[in-house]
Symmetry: C2
Subunit: 404 residues, 2 copies
Amino acid sequence: MTLDEARALDAADPLAAYRAQFALPEGVIYLDGNSLGALPKATPAALADVATRQWGDRLIRSWNEGWIDAPQRIGAKIAPLIGAAADEVIIGDTTSTHLFKALVAALRANPDRHTVLSEAGNFPTDLHIAEGAVACVPGARLKVVARADLAEALDEDTAVLLLTHVHYKTGERFDMTAWTARAHDAGALMLWDLSHSVGAVPIDLNGADADLAVGCTYKYLNGGPGAPAFIYVATRWQDRLASPLSGWMGHAAPFAFEDAYRPAPGMKRWLAGTPAMLSTAALETALDLWADIDQHAVAAKSARLFDILAAAGDALGLDCVSPRDPAQRGSHISFRHPHAHAITQALIAHGVIGDFRDPDILRLGLTPLYLSHEDVWCAGEMLKKIVETGEWQNPQYSERLAVT
Amino acid sequence: MTLDEARALDAADPLAAYRAQFALPEGVIYLDGNSLGALPKATPAALADVATRQWGDRLIRSWNEGWIDAPQRIGAKIAPLIGAAADEVIIGDTTSTHLFKALVAALRANPDRHTVLSEAGNFPTDLHIAEGAVACVPGARLKVVARADLAEALDEDTAVLLLTHVHYKTGERFDMTAWTARAHDAGALMLWDLSHSVGAVPIDLNGADADLAVGCTYKYLNGGPGAPAFIYVATRWQDRLASPLSGWMGHAAPFAFEDAYRPAPGMKRWLAGTPAMLSTAALETALDLWADIDQHAVAAKSARLFDILAAAGDALGLDCVSPRDPAQRGSHISFRHPHAHAITQALIAHGVIGDFRDPDILRLGLTPLYLSHEDVWCAGEMLKKIVETGEWQNPQYSERLAVT
């Protein structure tokens, strides 16, 4: 592809106008929106309003003027992005906390079975939290197997199959419908972690008949650093599952101040403590951008952006570990290289921000809302220059940062 | 007390200058800072900086430029307010989530005992979460008794005594040193909920030899609606307790992306998911106000403010349920009245914002950083007027709001 061809794709891009909705620094091509999404231009004003007017001026009254319902209202805005009904999603806490709640609840709902099955190399918090969850349910255990062995490992003791829809490192995507059906055929509940797929690929939880899902909102949804996460519980499970984090905000009548816990009906029972309203307001603003976006247009553009970088990698003979078939991946591309860390640092030094994932992965996120084809073409050219000239061998790129 | 006397107290008030650090609406006397603290004037600019510069401009790089260490850095700023060492406190999550983690960890550390003991009428989330926590530890149970029966109920099966230092409704304060000693004499761990006392009364966890504590930062600390909560673990327990919410951010080496969980040393193991950085930044700004404040000056002013409202209540013959001895209470005053809800609504209609607590409590918070003696004197006069004239009987005050 030539620069002119990339520009021609931009001229015909139905999502091109969204770029103007984001504040991005000059001189940077940001390929890390799969880790921390960019700042929507509307967010600072929304934050100023929640701080100055809602908190500062209205004070405690704001709980009656929009705050108390925010977790459900915002959940309903995520619902169409994941194929859920409006009353099947609520936000708050973190993905890790939601995973814990969902796993303990699912294990208790399936008491004749004892195993949480997941994939080796899944995003660490999924496995770490699953360790913590099984320790809270007598007899429960965690079984972690390679992807190729998952189908065989699904057995009569599997209570929950926990899979991350798109792999954080390779970008590989599970077939949601097929794996949900496999879990159900084995008698297990299906719990999806959508952190690396929501806002990146079309998702249809109800179409796939999924039971539970959780996900992150600070990646492709641009909710802000550490934005509240979401949890989805299929309607048929809502009365049968209860959160082990039985907190006041999830009580059926919080302002009756009862000593005994009674779970609220619907999704409210998945709340525990008071939601972080400043971070919540930023998330709501970011989600409003998604109201009119066609998920399939996002996926189509993601596929084009991927092809641009895949071609650059091919020209260099790089080992692309992400699937070539768009239906089998998310919206990032990863290359395995023994010097991936130094190459990542060299790219960052030239304003192309991607990230490194231990031990040998260069990961480049493709966010169709604010990246142009030209951006990604230029990033590919920079990658070629750095690898072809050996610039990554410069000693300045050997330092390892805590977070990259 | 006369208005002139109240003004004379203001003229001599060593904390008077702090009022200028807060943005408070015109025409409001805010007596609900014990529920949601007021907005520090510095906070909107700090939020704008974290959004526009740190997130918008620095993007993912901000994790290396102050975000990753924020939970510990901010915990260290809370430490002097609660008599803890800087490395005994960390922030993140909610008070409810921290309570869950602390209770499960403490039960596991004391495996020959099975009972969490707490007080009937404790703040609901303490009891609700304790229900959830004991359900996660085989054999554990929750025992809830009246305050008068607590000492007798402490026995050889008590693993943890869970008390809220200052009662959310009455303002009664437990003697931290005495009750911690009683718990230890019985062989139990002592877990304090400081939500209604931190920033309101001097606290010395280490002086009292406490084991664990949690607390809220959006009341007297003014961290913002739903600001991250804190957890304290005494140094001697830090290696022996582990969080059941074993999340990635609490791993010993998160960026090694290991499948197996290994808890981080020190307080970092109490983290789970990614902290909500916008809400976190607001909290840090609010805490910076406390750096030079003498806790004993705060307590002394709180006592003077209390006396002003207590005198107004006495003049009306109201039933004050808060202790008269300042050493036995927090920083709010509560009156029991069969029409407390209507009186609260009438006060709010006249710009005096307090709150109602079911079924019959009018609760007025006394926040020495931004309330003057004159403010509180005027509130007392308004209370007298509303009760003496029977204005609260106006039908417009009968409506019950979701949150008051």
